[in-house]
C-alpha cells in the first residue's frame, strides 16, 4: 500500500524542489538519459539491454497498486484520467539491479529510494547525482513511479514505489509530500503474488534476470515512442555503436524495434530528424565517423607537455604537416592525449590516463558536431568549435579520467563544471586540467586547420570564377575570322615596322585628312612576363637620350626624349622616326599615339 509520513506539529511543510534541476531537457530525453545512464552504471554484463514500452491498461487492472494512492492524489490536487491508465515501462538487463542492504546504508538500493541529492556512484560510473531519479517523478502526471528490481547479489525480487506530491491534509491529518509503495515497515514488497500481478498489469518481461524495471503511470503527453527512440539515439549512439547497449522499443500491440551495434546506422537513416539538431544532416555519415573512431585501435599519441603547461601546439604532433594535409583532405584523424590525474589525498601518486580525440573536416555541415563522451554517456552542452564544419568526438573511458570528469559533471550530465562543490579541492590543478580537456578538441583543430601556406587557387572558386566554355565561345564570337563589313574600323595613325635592333614609326598611308603639325608620344619598354611592361620600365633597361640608343627623324622635331619616352612634333606626310640600339634578345613593347 501507499504510505505517507504524517507531519507532526512543529515540523515545517515543504514542497519538493528537486525538479528545478531537470527543467532544461525534454521529458523524452530526460527519462531516457536518466534511466539508461543508471543502467550503464550498474552494468554487470558486457552489454546492457534496455526495453522501453509504452502501454495502456484498464483502471481496474492496476487498481491494486494505485487505489491507496488515490486519496492522497486528490488531496494534493492532482487530476488524471480514470478509465484508461497509460504507462511507460523501462527495463534494463545485464545489470546488477538495485543491490545492497535495504536498510539505512550506502547501498544502491537505499540511495535510490531513500536518499535525495546524494550519490554513491564514483569512478567510471556515468550517473552519480542523486537528484537524477527525480526525472521519473517529473515525467509522470501524478509524480509517481514504481521500481521492481531483481538483484544479482541475492536474487531477491523487490517492488517499491515513490510519489512526490505536495504536503496535503486528509481527515485533519497533514501528510508529507513524499509517499512510498511499500509494506507496513517502509520496506519493499516481496510478495510473489503481488509482484506477478504487478508484472502482468504493466507488461513487464522480467522473470529472474537481474536488473531494474521502472514503471511510470500517466506519463506526460510529450512522451512518445518516436521521441524516445530519437532521444535514445541522440544521447546513446556512442554506447550502442560501441556494443555497450542494445535498445528495444515497443508500444501496445505494434512490433518492437531493436537498435544495436549492427543495425543502428541503417535504422538511423529511416528516422525523421526534423526539429532536432540532426535535421538536414547526413546522419549515416556522422554515425560512420563515430563507428570508425570506436573501431580504431591505432591512435596517434599527442605530446601535451608537462602537466603544468597544458598546451597543444604544433610540437605536440608527430609529422604535423602530413597530419594537416590529411585533415584538410577530409580524413579522420585519431589521437590519444595522455594526461596525469593527481589526487590531493596525501600519499597518493599521480595516475597516468588518457582521452581519445577523433576529428574530421565535414564541409557539408552547417556548423560543428562535437561529441563529448564519458563512460558511454554524451555530455551535451560542451561546445568549443564555433561555426567550424567539423565532426569531433572526445572519449573519456579510462577509469582515472572518467572519475575526474565525473566528479565535476552537472546533475543532468550535460556539462563538466569546474565550480562543482569539492572538485578543485580533490585534485591538483583540477581547474586547469579540466579546462585543458574541455578545450583540447578546439586546440587540436586550430593547429591542424591552420591555413596552408601555399596559394589556394580554387579557394573562392564558388564566388569568383567564370565559365571556361562560355569564355572561349565568347572569344570566338568576338574575334570572327573576317571582320563584318558594316563595322567601320578606326584606322591607326601610325604604322610601326620592325628593323634590326629597333623600329621605324611612320604615318599610316590609309589615314586621311591629317592636319600638320601635331604632337605625338612614343613609349617603349622591354616586355615582361608579369604585369604592365611600361610600369616596370627601369632606367637601366635603356635610356632614349643615351647610347646605345640612336634616333633619326624626318619631317618631325623631337620635343623631348627621356628614359623610355620620346615626344615629337610631326610636321609632314613623309614623317619617319627610327629608333635603334635595343637588346635583340628581348621583346620590345611600344606605344605610339597622339599626345
Amino acid at each position: 500500500m501507499w504510505r505517507f509520513r504524517k507531519i507532526e506539529p512543529g515540523i515545517p511543510e515543504r514542497n519538493p524542489r528537486e525538479g528545478e534541476f531537470f527543467r532544461l531537457t525534454e521529458p523524452d530525453e530526460a527519462v531516457v538519459r536518466e534511466f539508461i545512464q543508471n543502467a550503464l552504471d550498474a552494468r554487470s554484463d558486457q552489454i546492457v539491454r534496455i526495453r522501453i514500452y509504452l502501454g495502456e491498461a484498464g483502471r481496474q487492472e492496476i487498481d491494486t497498486h494505485l487505489s491507496t494512492l488515490t486519496p492522497h492524489l486528490h488531496a494534493s490536487g492532482f487530476k488524471y484520467g480514470t478509465e484508461k491508465v497509460h504507462f511507460l515501462t523501462i527495463e534494463d538487463y545485464g545489470t546488477t539491479g538495485l543491490d545492497g542492504d535495504i536498510e539505512r546504508s550506502d547501498s544502491n538500493f537505499y540511495n535510490f529510494w531513500w536518499r535525495e541529492g546524494v550519490s554513491a556512484k564514483s569512478g567510471r560510473l556515468g550517473g552519480r547525482w542523486g537528484l537524477g531519479k527525480t526525472t521519473f517523478h517529473l515525467v509522470s502526471q501524478i509524480r509517481t513511479f514504481w521500481g521492481l528490481t531483481v538483484r544479482r547479489d541475492d536474487n531477491r525480487k523487490l517492488l517499491m514505489g515513490k510519489a512526490l506530491l505536495k504536503p496535503h491534509q486528509m481527515n485533519s491529518e497533514v501528510f508529507d509530500y513524499a509517499g512510498y509503495y511499500c509494506d507496513d515497515n517502509w520496506s519493499p514488497l516481496e510478495n510473489e503474488r503481488v509482484i506477478e500481478d504487478f508484472k502482468r498489469a504493466f507488461c513487464i518481461s522480467r522473470n529472474i534476470q537481474p536488473g531494474l524495471t521502472i514503471v511510470v503511470p500517466y506519463p506526460v503527453r510529450e512522451i512518445s515512442r518516436t521521441g524516445m527512440m530519437r532521444s535514445t539515439i541522440l544521447n546513446y549512439f556512442y554506447a550502442i555503436l560501441a556494443g555497450l547497449l542494445e535498445i528495444e522499443l515497443g508500444e501496445n500491440d505494434s512490433d518492437s524495434v531493436i537498435l544495436n551495434r549492427e543495425n543502428l546506422i541503417d535504422e538511423i537513416h529511416s528516422i525523421n530528424w526534423n526539429g532536432t539538431d540532426w535535421e538536414n544532416i547526413d546522419v549515416r555519415e556522422v554515425m560512420s565517423f563515430v563507428r570508425s573512431a570506436i573501431d580504431r585501435s591505432e591512435l596517434i599519441e599527442l605530446n601535451s607537455g608537462d602537466t603544468s603547461t597544458f598546451e597543444i601546439n604544433g610540437n605536440s604532433f608527430p609529422d604535423i604537416e602530413t597530419l594537416r594535409e590529411k585533415f584538410r583532405q577530409g580524413d579522420t584523424c585519431h589521437f590519444r592525449l595522455p594526461v596525469k590525474i593527481q589526487s590531493m589525498e596525501q600519499g597518493t601518486t599521480g595516475l597516468d590516463t588518457y582521452i581519445s580525440i577523433h576529428i574530421r573536416k565535414f564541409p557539408a555541415l552547417k556548423g560543428p558536431m562535437e561529441f563529448y563522451v564519458r563512460s558511454g554517456i554524451l555530455v551535451t552542452e560542451i561546445k568549443t568549435l564555433g561555426s567550424r564544419p567539423i565532426l569531433a568526438l572526445l572519449v573519456a573511458e579510462d577509469e582515472p579520467v572518467a572519475r575526474f570528469l565525473g566528479d565535476c559533471e552537472t546533475p543532468a550530465h550535460t556539462n563538466w563544471n569546474e565550480r562543482t562543490e569539492g572538485f578543485k579541492e580533490k585534485y591538483e590543478n583540477a581547474v586547469q586540467l579540466l579546462r585543458f580537456i574541455k578545450k583540447c578538441i578546439s586546440r587540436t583543430v586550430s593547429v591542424l586547420d591552420e591555413p596552408p601556406r601555399e596559394r589556394q587557387v580554387e579557394f573562392l572558386k564558388d564566388i569568383f570564377s567564370i565559365p571556361i566554355q562560355e569564355e572561349e565561345e565568347e572569344r570566338r564570337r568576338e574575334r570572327p575570322e573576317h571582320a563584318p563589313e558594316d563595322i567601320e574600323r578606326k584606322v591607326p595613325l601610325f604604322n610601326v615596322t620592325q628593323m634590326p635592333g629597333g623600329f621605324r614609326v611612320h604615318l599610316n598611308p590609309q589615314r586621311r585628312n591629317i592636319s600638320f603639325p601635331f604632337q605625338a608620344t612614343i613609349k617603349m619598354a622591354y616586355d615582361t612576363r608579369r604585369g604592365n611592361p611600361f610600369a616596370q620600365y627601369e632606367k637601366f633597361d635603356f635610356d632614349v637620350s643615351k647610347d646605345p640608343i640612336t634616333i633619326t627623324e624626318k619631317e618631325c622635331k623631337i620635343l623631348k626624349k627621356e628614359n623610355n619616352s620620346i615626344e615629337i612634333k610631326v610636321e609632314g606626310p613623309n614623317f619617319e622616326l627610327t629608333v635603334k640600339g635595343f637588346n635583340l634578345e628581348r621583346d620590345l613593347v611600344l606605344f605610339a599615339g597622339e599626345a
Binding site: 591555413p451 601555399e454 608579369r530 606605344f591
Partner: protein, 259 residues
C-alpha cells in the same frame, strides 16, 4: 596603338595545340600528363629540342620531350616533389640545339579543369599584422591575389561562410581590383585585352550583366571617361551584392542579434 616586337622571331604555340591535365589522389595533385602537343605547320627544324616546364614562382621542373620529329607525349610525370603543385603553370619551349635560341613557345598554360569553371581570385593566408585582408598583384601577369590574415582563428571557415566577412570584404576587394586594373594597369582594349587576368575580370563583370564602358585606358583621351568608369565599378559591386542578397539578409540578422 600598342605593338610588341619579337626580335628573335620565335613562334607562338597556340593553346588549342596543347592538352595538359593533372592527376589527383585524394584531391591532391600528384602528377601531370601532356596528352597532346601539335607542332604541325610551325615549320620547325626536325632536330629542334622540345621541353615542358612546370613552374610556380621560383620553383621549376623541366622535362625533355625529345626532338621535333620524334618527341613523345607524356602520360604521367610525378609532381609530388614540388612544393605547391596546385599552383603550377606550364610552359612549352622549342629550342634550336646548336644556338639554344628559342624557336617556339607557349607560356602560362593552366591545366584543363574538368569542372568547366575557372577561378579568378586565388587566396593566400599570411600573417598580415593587424590587417584582416589585402590585395596583392603577385599572380600570373601581375594578377590579383586576395591575402587574408592567417592569425585569425578559424579564418578559412570564416572566409567561406561568415556573412559579415563576406559582405564587408568581397565587394571591397572587387572595387579595389577593378580600380587597380583600370587606373594603375590600364586595360588597352575592352573587347580583347591582351592580359589574361584583365580578360577574366571583365568576363566576371559581364557575367553579372554589367557591360564595361567604351574605354578602360586612362591614356585614351578621346574615349576614356573617368566618371563612367567609377559608375561601372559601382554597378559591378552593386550587382555582386545583389547576387548574394541572401547572405546580406544573414548579415542583417546577425547584426540585429548582436544589438
Amino acid at each position: 596603338m600598342k605593338r610588341t616586337i619579337n626580335y628573335t622571331g620565335r613562334k607562338r604555340i597556340s593553346r588549342e595545340r596543347i592538352s595538359i591535365s593533372f592527376s589527383r589522389q585524394n584531391g591532391s595533385v600528384v602528377s601531370f600528363s601532356l596528352s597532346r602537343l601539335d607542332l604541325s605547320g610551325l615549320d620547325l627544324p626536325s632536330n629542334a629540342l622540345i621541353s615542358v616546364e612546370a613552374y610556380y614562382r621560383t620553383e621549376l621542373k623541366r622535362i625533355q620531350l625529345g626532338q621535333a620529329d620524334s618527341f613523345h607525349q607524356i602520360l604521367s610525370t610525378d609532381l609530388t616533389d614540388m612544393g605547391y603543385p596546385e599552383n603550377l603553370k606550364f610552359r612549352i619551349i622549342v629550342v634550336d640545339p646548336s644556338t639554344k635560341k628559342i624557336l617556339a613557345y607557349a607560356d602560362r598554360i593552366a591545366p584543363e579543369e574538368p569542372s568547366g569553371r575557372k577561378s579568378i581570385l586565388p587566396v593566400e593566408f599570411r600573417d598580415l599584422g593587424n590587417r584582416i585582408w589585402m590585395i596583392t598583384y603577385e599572380g600570373d601577369e601581375g594578377s590579383p591575389v586576395l591575402c587574408i590574415n592567417n592569425r585569425i582563428p578559424d579564418i578559412q571557415n570564416i572566409a567561406k561562410r561568415d556573412s559579415q566577412f563576406f559582405m564587408q570584404v568581397y565587394p571591397c576587394a572587387i572595387r579595389e581590383i577593378l580600380t587597380y586594373m583600370v587606373f594603375v594597369e590600364g586595360v588597352e582594349s575592352v573587347r580583347d585585352p591582351s592580359v589574361d587576368w584583365n580578360r577574366d575580370w571583365l568576363e566576371f563583370t559581364k557575367s553579372m550583366g554589367i557591360q564595361p564602358p567604351l574605354s578602360l585606358t586612362p591614356d585614351d583621351n578621346q574615349q576614356f571617361d573617368k566618371d563612367e568608369v567609377f559608375k561601372w565599378i559601382d554597378n559591378v559591386v552593386e550587382a555582386f551584392c545583389n547576387r548574394y542578397s541572401q547572405i546580406f539578409e544573414k548579415f542583417v540578422s546577425k547584426m540585429e542579434e548582436n544589438r
